[in-house]
């Protein structure tokens, strides 16, 4: 559906996007991750044909975003960063204008506007002047505009910025619903968002693509070493430690600082070794009640940071 080939965008001497290549298949929902200034918006702008690349090519559904801009724009619903809107128009007028621009035939316009107003839950402000709408409404008006022509591809640049937690949940579920019959690319710097919505993640840092793969693997494999286990034993700290250290496969046991109550330990093992059963049996044999046994997940933030701080990105990419 979308193919980005060796994309480069330079502003003077600085490369905002540096040799980025990836593909997005129909029906995928891809999270575009990266800190501010990583080149996310620049890449998206090039994909929509708004900016020309310095080198490289973008194809959307067989059309080149540079040569055949108009055809590409027809395939894309785009919500730009900061969601610029005409402040002095009413919501309904704005959408009517956008519908006309996007070539929705006159007869279908009214019905379609009604549909997107409802889908994005902005019906209640349809007669309000956009300048007087809250940030949450404005964001959803932008989203409604992106959906207007029912394009096969949706490119959403930070769609949940400025929304309150309830609206964020709504917007995310809306995007998730849309992904059923749209290809969605959304950029964000919020990791849980990608985890909540996306099936695939692209991580961009300093203009270079650091990671391209499933979100699930982002958490597991690429977090560096495994997170280990958390274990609480109702016993004397030293006795518990000796017991835990005795289990086969355990490499290190660290006592975690707890204010009071039974001691809590962080148990590290070799990659891929499961010691949970051994721990249970050892504790049971020693007569030490096992109060807690938790597999510690590597948080996405940690995975993200570790990917971004890796000097050699080629290892990660493979």
């Amino acid at each position: 559906m979308i193919e980005v080939k060796d994309l480069v965008k330079r502003y003077g001497d600085t490369a905002a996007v540096n040799h980025v290549s990836f593909q997005v298949h129909p029906g995928e929902i891809v999270g575009f991750l990266g800190p501010n200034g990583a080149g996310k918006s620049t890449t998206l702008r090039i994909m929509t044909g708004f900016l020309p690349p310095t080198a490289g090519e973008v194809f959307v559904g067989d059309h080149s975003a540079q040569e055949d801009t108009k055809a590409v724009r027809r395939l894309i619903g785009y919500l730009p960063e900061n969601n610029p809107l005409y402040e002095d128009l009413r919501v309904q007028e704005y959408l009517a204008f956008r519908a006309a621009l996007k070539g929705i035939p006159g007869k279908a316009r009214k019905g379609r506007i009604q549909e997107v107003l409802e889908a994005c839950e902005v019906t209640e402000v349809k007669d309000r002047i956009i300048g007087a709408c809250s940030k949450g409404f404005r964001q959803r008006i932008g989203l409604a505009d992106a959906l207007l022509a029912n394009p096969p591809v949706l490119i959403l640049d930070e769609p949940t910025v400025g929304l309150d937690p309830v609206q964020i949940v709504h917007t995310r579920s809306l995007i998730k619903t849309l992904s059923a019959d749209h290809t969605v690319i959304l950029s964000t710097h919020i990791l849980p968002e990608v985890e909540a919505i996306c099936s695939r993640a692209l991580i961009l840092h300093h203009g270079a693509l650091l990671y391209d793969g499933p979100v699930s693997e982002l958490r597991q494999g690429l977090g560096g070493e495994a997170g280990g286990l958390l274990c609480t034993v109702s016993a004397d700290a030293e006795a518990a430690r000796r017991c835990l250290e005795g289990v086969e496969g355990v490499e290190r046991v660290e006592r975690l600082a707890t204010a009071e109550g039974p001691p809590r330990f962080h148990i590290l093992t070799a990659q891929g070794v499961d010691v949970r059963e051994g721990l249970f049996r050892a504790c049971a044999a020693a007569g030490l009640p096992l109060l807690e046994l938790t597999v510690q997940q590597v948080s996405l933030e940690e995975a993200f940071l570790s990917i971004m701080t890796q000097e050699n990105s080629s290892e990660v990419l493979s």
């Binding site: 702008r45 929509t48 044909g49 708004f50 900016l51 020309p52 108009k70 055809a71 724009r73 027809r74 894309i76 785009y78 730009p80 900061n82 610029p84 809107l85 005409y86 402040e87 002095d88 128009l89 007028e93 204008f97 956008r98 006309a100 621009l101 996007k102 070539g103 002047i129 932008g142 505009d145």
Partner: protein, 246 residues
């Protein structure tokens, strides 16, 4: 064409949603009404030289030109500059529209407001007919002149707004170009060079408007205004295109 009309309509709607259009039209009509009454009063004096009031009304006074060079930038300054400043250019240019359609749409929208400002002055003509005989021919050609000069000026204003991100800069630039064009009239009196004098006379807007007001539709004047319009629309289109080079 569909997109051109959509953009023109949106521009016109925006004008009327902001106080802008009302202020422009109100100020314009107030000025013009005042000038018109002054002209009438002057011509009604016993011993006044005989002239058609509409001849003076269409470009025969300095007021006409002052108002034209002030009103044009006010109408056009936001057309492109605002889109750049607020970033709406990004939503606009990622919709399936071409640069040309955007330029033409904005131009048409601004021309519609310009025409809307002039339309009520037809009432003056009607009022005149009640008291004296009005020669319809020169009035029609006078309005044609107003339209042609307006087309030229609005094209200049649109161009200056498309090249700048700041409305004030756009307005000042437009104002400067228009002032220069008007000042050519003064130059025609000063220049004696046999080559330059006819050239300057050819582009002297003051006498061009006087020609129209007299009922003379000189094809050279028409061509001058139309080619000026086309030149600045083309420059505006180029200004839109440069975005792609960066």
């Amino acid at each position: 064409m569909r997109a051109v009309m959509a953009i023109a309509r949106k521009e016109l709607t925006s004008y009327f949603f902001a106080p802008m259009a009302y202020i422009v039209i109100a100020a314009f009509l107030l000025m013009n009404g005042f000038i018109f009454s002054v002209i009438l009063a002057a011509l009604s004096q016993p011993g006044a030289f005989s002239a058609q009031p509409m001849l003076l009304f269409f470009g025969g006074t300095t007021f006409f030109w002052i108002f034209m060079i002030v009103m044009t930038p006010v109408i056009t300054m936001k057309l492109g500059a605002e889109e750049r400043k607020t970033g709406t250019i990004e939503t606009l240019m990622t919709a399936p529209v071409s640069d040309l359609e955007v330029v033409l749409g904005k131009y048409l929208g601004a021309m519609a407001l310009y025409a809307a400002a002039w339309l009520p002055t037809v009432f003056y003509v009607w009022a005149l007919t009640a008291y004296s005989k009005v020669d319809v021919g020169p009035v029609i050609s006078g309005y044609l002149g107003v339209l042609l000069v307006g087309m030229f000026f609005i094209a200049i204003g649109l161009f200056t707004s498309l090249v700048s991100k700041n409305q004030v800069v756009a307005a000042m630039l437009c104002f400067a170009i228009l002032l220069l064009l008007i000042l050519i009239s003064i130059l025609t009196f000063l220049v004696t060079d046999p080559f330059w004098k006819p050239v300057l006379q050819y582009v002297d807007l003051w006498s061009i408007m006087q020609g129209f007001a007299k009922g003379v539709v000189d094809s050279r004047s028409v061509v001058y205004c139309l080619s000026g319009t086309a030149l600045f629309l083309a420059l505006g289109y180029q200004a839109m295109q440069t975005r792609r080079w960066r």
